[in-house]
């Protein structure tokens, strides 16, 4: 999977599961997620996590639910990369 494909999947989740995303065309690695940018709160991040787990067959442990992983699209991609074998 490429980063672009992952961003597309993220965009779809934000739109379909959370009815969020705003100007979706502007979604890039610098786009804020938790608190800033799109402005997710804790419970929205949890919904995002549930959707990611469902879509990619992942299990994200409680210990990994750290805010730094969800600051921006970029930090989320870096968190997901080793779990999804993302290739540039």
């Amino acid at each position: 999977m490429t980063p672009e494909a992952l961003i597309a999947a993220l965009r779809a989740i934000l739109r379909e599961r959370l009815a969020l995303g705003g100007d979706e065309g502007a979604l890039d690695t610098d786009t804020g997620l938790l608190g800033a940018g799109i402005g997710l709160d804790s419970f929205e991040v949890l919904q995002l996590v549930a959707a990611l787990e469902e879509r990619f067959g992942l299990t994200i442990d409680d210990d990994d639910l750290l805010p730094d992983h969800f600051r921006t699209v970029g930090t989320l991609l870096r968190f997901l990369e080793p779990r999804l074998q993302v290739t540039a």
Partner: protein
């Protein structure tokens, strides 16, 4: 919208802690030795002494009250309101200190609107109680719910110090967290199923636990406040108040009912806790618009309560008083629903009459 960041590593000690320790030293003998009917008069004497000892502060506080209220009228003069607010702080601290004594503190409580909670729980998806940032509410609300057998999981910040409604800025210290805060929370915890604290590192794992409680058709309470990953600055009286969106966001995520709860003092050691009808979410363009609308409608309800009971609101001196006025309300404001909720504010007297 301005996100509210969690504080960095807290300092060891602050001036607020010194003030709190002094307050506890003065109030503990009163709480333990004086009968409860004497608390308010004794607290009132202390409040008056403080008001007269620091006239410049008193003038500034009264001016703040005048600006916050604008053309609205409350039942007492603003100077008296300034003192009554301090009376409330004082009495709440006395209650918490008395509760430490063997035998505890035993107020007479009346829970109104229980049917709203029962109706919400029939759907099997739990209920989120959104409790108010007012004097007395933190302990009294938990006691009232416990008294009628409602097991509550309370979501709270990791520390707010000893005084839940201090007019001083929220400024946690390590001393406050480890020494002062437990004086209050260990009393509150007697009446809870559990306390789910937001962890200091901002980890989101607590949110899973909270959602799990709602999936079990549990009752979760969250105090309206500004601490959270997402918060809104909303029109309130002649300024703005900041509220985190956690409660409505949680309710929406779990399809749980969102029930505003308000607490009022009706006499010495007597309190009403009112569960309002559920705030129903509207179909909006986005999830955030729905959450923002719910938050705005809660703010409207809170404003009505504050105007009826101005002496118990803890936010007079921390609300933003700038040029931001309600004509700059966020786009999320869905005025039709806000107006309906304003009309629906429970008339305590009517409810009480119906429950007798």
């Amino acid at each position: 919208m301005r996100p509210t960041d969690f504080p960095p590593r807290a300092p060891l000690f602050s001036r607020t802690d010194v003030f709190e320790v002094m307050t506890i030293s003065v109030l503990t003998p009163i709480a333990w030795l004086a009968p409860e009917r004497a608390w308010l008069p004794l607290g009132h004497v202390l409040s008056l002494a403080i008001a007269y000892a620091w006239p410049a502060v008193t003038r500034a506080r009264v001016a703040t009250l005048a600006r916050a209220l604008g053309p609205r009228r409350v039942e007492c003069a603003l100077g008296a309101l300034r003192v009554a607010i301090m009376d409330g702080y004082m009495e709440e601290r006395l209650q918490i200190l008395r509760a430490q004594k063997p035998g505890g503190w035993r107020p007479r409580l009346r829970l109104l609107g229980r049917e709203h909670l029962d109706a919400a729980l029939t759907h099997g998806r739990g209920a989120v109680l959104w409790t108010p940032p007012v004097s007395y509410a933190d302990l009294v609300t938990k006691m009232a719910l416990h008294e009628v057998g409602v097991a509550v999981s309370h979501v709270s910040a990791f520390s707010r110090g000893f005084s839940p409604n201090s007019c001083l800025a929220w400024n946690p210290t390590r001393f406050g967290t480890t020494v002062l805060s437990p004086l209050r929370t260990r009393i509150e915890d007697r009446y809870l199923r559990e306390r789910i604290a937001l962890p200091r590192d901002g980890s989101l794992a607590y949110a899973r636990r909270v959602e799990r409680r709602l999936r079990e058709n549990g009752v979760v309470s969250i105090r309206a406040g500004e601490i959270g990953h997402r918060a809104l600055d909303l029109p309130f009286l002649e300024g703005r108040v900041r509220l985190a969106t956690g409660a409505p966001s949680l309710a929406l995520a779990a399809s749980a009912a969102l029930l505003p709860v308000f607490t009022t003092r009706t006499g010495p050691g007597r309190f009403d806790v009112v569960i309002e009808p559920a705030l129903e979410s509207i179909a909006a363009a986005s999830r955030h618009a729905t959450v923002d609308d719910l938050t705005l409608r809660y703010t409207r309800l809170l404003e009505r309560y504050v105007l009826r009971h101005p002496e118990i609101w803890s936010g007079w001196y921390t609300m933003q008083l700038d040029d931001a006025r309600r004509d700059a309300a966020p786009a999320a404001a869905v005025s039709r629903h806000a107006r309906r909720d304003a009309r629906a504010v429970t008339d305590v007297a009517k409810l009480a009459a119906g429950s007798q």
